[in-house]
Amino acid sequence: MRKTRRPTITPAQLRGLTQARYSRRDTLRFAGLSAAALALAGCGVEGQGQQAPASENFWADKKSNGQLRFANWPLYMDPEKPELKQFTETTGIEVEYSESIQDMPSWFGEIQPLLANGDDIGADLMVLTSGQELNKLIALGHLAPLDHDQLLNFAEFAGDTYKMSAYDYGNRYTVPYASGITGIAYDPERVGREITSLKDLWDPEFEGRVGMFRDPQEIANFGLLYNGVDPADSTPEDWKAAADALKKQRDDGIVRAYYEQDYVQPLTNGDIWMTMAWSGDIFQVNAEEGTNLKFVIPEEGATLWTDNMTIPITAQNPVDALMLMNFFYNPDIAASLAEYINYICPVPHAQEVLRDKAEELSGEEKQALEDLADSPLVFPTQSDYAKLHNYVPLDVEAGEDEEFNSTFQAITQA
């Protein structure tokens, strides 16, 4: 239990997710204009469109080295790393943990040239968000195919939703670390009514008081769902229609600004009254600043994104990485991670573990753990999952992402 972290948290606050770790579009880091270097490396820039080798070939000559380098996002594991200590105790494998991933585009820009050269990126296991960069890394053959014979915990304990993802059906390259929801956050006092629908984000009553996300994948989903289109089945025509709806929302003056991870402060300040939001941020700000913001999954649906464990093709210790992946799917360990992370846990069984653990505790601690186990934002029900959609699946090899991005960037970057 992290008594030190949140001593006075209310159940409502605890129910949700925590930290603002999701700085996926940290515009402010321009990870070196390496295009020039790329261009000079040869007359052209080689495409690496080949697929990764088949699983058997990759794993044939690999063995455990007793060590492992794990690159993760900030605030995605208890600073004491109890789970990693336990892993080292059981397996003897030493883990070097780093919080080197701040946002996907920068991380992609950092590792892609190295992977293209076949160089080590300094990590054997990394956590990547489902999205265009992940699609690209898979298409470029930069990720190792997973050996599921070594991932028996995953086979047994992973939730079904996480075995059928659109971005990596059958988990050839990825297994989830944690998931989260993009929904609507609002300040009930200012809004003055209950928000239930995406239509509220288009309501002229809130002119200049609505925040939207700048990320093309995030805003696209909301535009599509507003139009009643399932992102998974959307066509370029649907994208245009969604963009038109979003353009109208902008031109009617309803949108105050397009945000990245910087939307929380304007919401607490009252500059905006409602906004697209990552559930974890809202619960954290409620816990820390005593605000009373609400987070809802709109009735038309919302976005489910997943952060995945992956092994770069140039990993020096891939077997050890695979073992850690498997270890994290042990329900006890998954429960322990969920206690800190408070995002959606991909291991439904961890709910039981948390309830059992709560039984042994008393008072506030017991309540806190029970609330965590009962939270639909950590262990969503089937009906919750039915409302959650992945990002639009884009065929990056066919260059679909270009049309998609330019369609939505024309709205957010006018």
């Binding site: 515009t27 690496q48 304007p266 270009e402």
Partner: protein
Amino acid sequence: MTRLRSKAAPYLLALPAWLWLGIFFVVPIIGLLWMSLMTGNIITGFTPTFNVAVYPEVVTTYWEQILRSLGYGLAATLLCIAVGYPVAYWIAFHGGAHKSTYLLLVLLPFFVTQVLRTISWKFLLADNGLVLGPFKAIGLLPEDARVLSTAVAVVFGLAYNFLPFMIMPIYAVLEQVDHRVVEAAYDLYASRFHAFVHVILPLSLPGVFAGVLLVFVPSSADYVSASVLGGTNNTMIGNIIHSQYLVNNAYPTAAAITFVLMAVLLIGIFSYARALGTERVMEVQAG
């Protein structure tokens, strides 16, 4: 031998600078130009196809953001002159023994990264923040008045971030103004105003000229202010380059926009230098 060495000395001393420029500016610039003429995507790879069509394409798509960037840059520069000149003047002529302290104060914001400085502005400029809040409280501003997420916020943010680049060169020039020249003007019955307009101001123009360059160029190409302080329809060209490069991995497009921006800025600067008569300005400085 000695003579040869003494002749070569300046060149040898300048060598590190030339190497630096050559390796870290000229080479990447040529690479960037080459990149801009390629087609493809990151999966299939980029091949050089001498696709010059990318240039008219980016100009037609992004002319609005380019013009806006120049406009914001210009506004920020004028704001910097208006705010920075008096500050530089005051430090140079009335700073007394504490000149270096004042200069340090001017530079102090630079000890905090630009990103954090800009983000702190969000707090200041919030609808009910430190700047607007009091005015609203006493009824001088309507309840729904706002600065954040508007062009005004972006321009002020730019001006704030680059202000020291305006103050420093103006100060450097004013500091060197010979006081006897000013006294001579007074002796010839010039009022304070006339002495300023006819003596000090012309003498300080080289500093203003340098300041304008140092502020206008980086603020036109900036992407932090617009992304943090801007709202809808405040996107600057720097933001476009940023997302083309990092989000879309459209390296040729990003490279092409970079060159268009560079060309526009260079043309702007040269016509500005010509209009102002740099040579004369330089002469003044030398004299």
